[in-house]
Symmetry: C2
Subunit: 272 residues, 2 copies
DNA sequence: CTTGACTCTCAGGTGACCTGAGGGTGTATA
DNA sequence: TATACACCCTCAGGTCACCTGAGAGTCAAG
């Protein structure tokens, strides 16, 4: 008959934790005094407690440990749980490894530029969307407005003519690589909420959900190259690779005040 | 002016999370309608949100991120935080790696023995303790009781004669390696609560706090070898090394019923 | 004017504990 | 025998980064 404090000293587990394990039905004292509520343990309970600690050390939750300590658990089930745990730990391991890579990339960037980077890259999954699109080839970089403008007008007109509605989102897909600025192959798209028939000039299809690396660019379209550079560098430094045409999503756009625009640049990526 | 739901869709952050960031003063809407409580965001806030997400991805807490986003933080401080984070991530990384090793050791053991291992090894720090000790050499393994018994009597007598008190804990230090069972060099110790003078035969000193790998052995002393074997195997499989004489701590001990004893076996270890 | 999508606040939950308040218990010493 | 002191109890509330759900108010379209 060992009082909780002595049992705590023996096992190096805090009194609070022992009470918590009691409450969880994970390790119940051999006796609880009915009048005082005092908990009394036995030396025979140390192996069970040690098993709990060992399993906790392997990363199992108390709930899982309770299962594993219950008798009637087959060896197969036990092995299954261990294997699941192994794969989870492997996952966490690689997560931490990637995190470390990202931290080191940021440190290097600080060394080089003497400031926090201007762009923060985030990985996300762009949702599936139904779009109406007009694809055009643009001879030189400064002709972009002159080609994209009419392309968008054409798409919007078509949508209106079909009696459908856009939901306000529009984006451009650039089929040429990010570092090519001549004869670019681009696609002006407007998101719509229900299917329409397509034509030769206007295609209607669904963009599937896509994992992308993204940055927010604020200001003129001419400075997009900076965002592209930041993204390309990040993608390279963090072990991703580009797997499709990149997207420009126009979040804030006023013709009269182009330098106050906000645009998201998204590169579809996968882990290399 | 973007409503919270649209801002959530743009940023792929849940509405709940945005409200939480507002409450944390991490990202406050540009405007909150005083009557309805509706939050309104601006596209200009996306870069800040992206920075929050990027830093969260590096493993920082929201509290740390708040600091890092506050202006007036020098580049030096920033670099310091990143370096701290790097070392913490490295720590977690090696923790997970060790965890993986332990899981795989357990899986192997299950394959071999077709059951959960009998002993669960835990790493802990044995606290510092003040002891009175009598060191004796024991010719053969079956003479252990015949030598240790008188040694303990001598220590207890000495403590009593000095008018001091033992606190009930006693242990044996084995200076010979665990796999040697002849001519063993052992030390019978009793924990005391205040300093005593020593003699030729009885030494009084403080055992420093020591990191140990430990198992609980239940039953006869003759079966200790199994516990030793389990410990040695674990220590080897998990990349530790033994750095001192091992200890036997008598937790439950009745002369009349030796097979109902409980003993802790502790090997002082360090990471190899 | 209704419908339906959206928004608000507030309370409570998650896991594995820890802290502290307020009060009872057990034993050794003056 | 009184008292000091270490120990034990329960219960409430906190941690972190959110999520769930209830109940009620708001907005835009039809």
């Amino acid at each position: 008959m060992i009082k909780i404090g002595d049992f705590a000293r023996l096992s190096q587990v805090s009194v609070v934790t022992l009470r918590y394990y009691d409450e969880m039905d994970l390790l119940e004292p051999v006796k609880v005094d009915h009048f005082t509520g005092y908990r009394y343990y036995s030396a025979d309970q140390l192996p069970r407690l040690n098993r709990i600690l060992a399993l906790k050390d392997l990363g199992f939750s108390l709930e899982q440990i309770k299962l594993m300590l219950a008798d009637g658990l087959s060896l197969e089930q036990l092995r299954g749980m261990l294997e699941m745990q192994r794969s989870q730990v492997e996952q966490r391991l690689s997560d931490e490894q990637e995190r470390l890579v990202r931290i080191e990339a940021r440190l290097r960037q600080i060394e080089l530029e003497d400031q926090m980077p201007n762009y923060d890259v985030v990985i996300k999954t762009a949702p599936a969307m139904l779009v109406a699109a007009r694809r055009v080839r643009i001879p030189t970089n400064d002709q972009v407005p002159e080609y994209l403008g009419p392309a968008y007008s054409e798409v919007y007109d078509y949508i209106r003519k079909q009696g459908a509605k856009d939901n306000g989102q529009c984006l451009t897909l650039w089929h040429s690589p990010a570092d090519v600025y001549a004869n670019e192959d681009s696609e002006a798209m407007v998101v719509i909420d229900r299917p329409l028939p397509g034509t030769d000039r206007i295609k209607v299809y669904e963009l599937p959900p896509t994992q992308v690396a993204a940055v927010i660019h604020q200001g003129n379209f001419e400075e997009f190259t900076q965002g592209h550079a930041a993204l390309l560098e990040w993608i390279d430094a963090n072990g991703y690779k580009i797997v499709g045409p990149y997207r420009e999503i126009y979040i804030k756009y006023e013709k009269d005040n182009l330098s106050d625009s906000t645009t998201e640049i998204q590169f579809p990526v996968e882990k290399a």
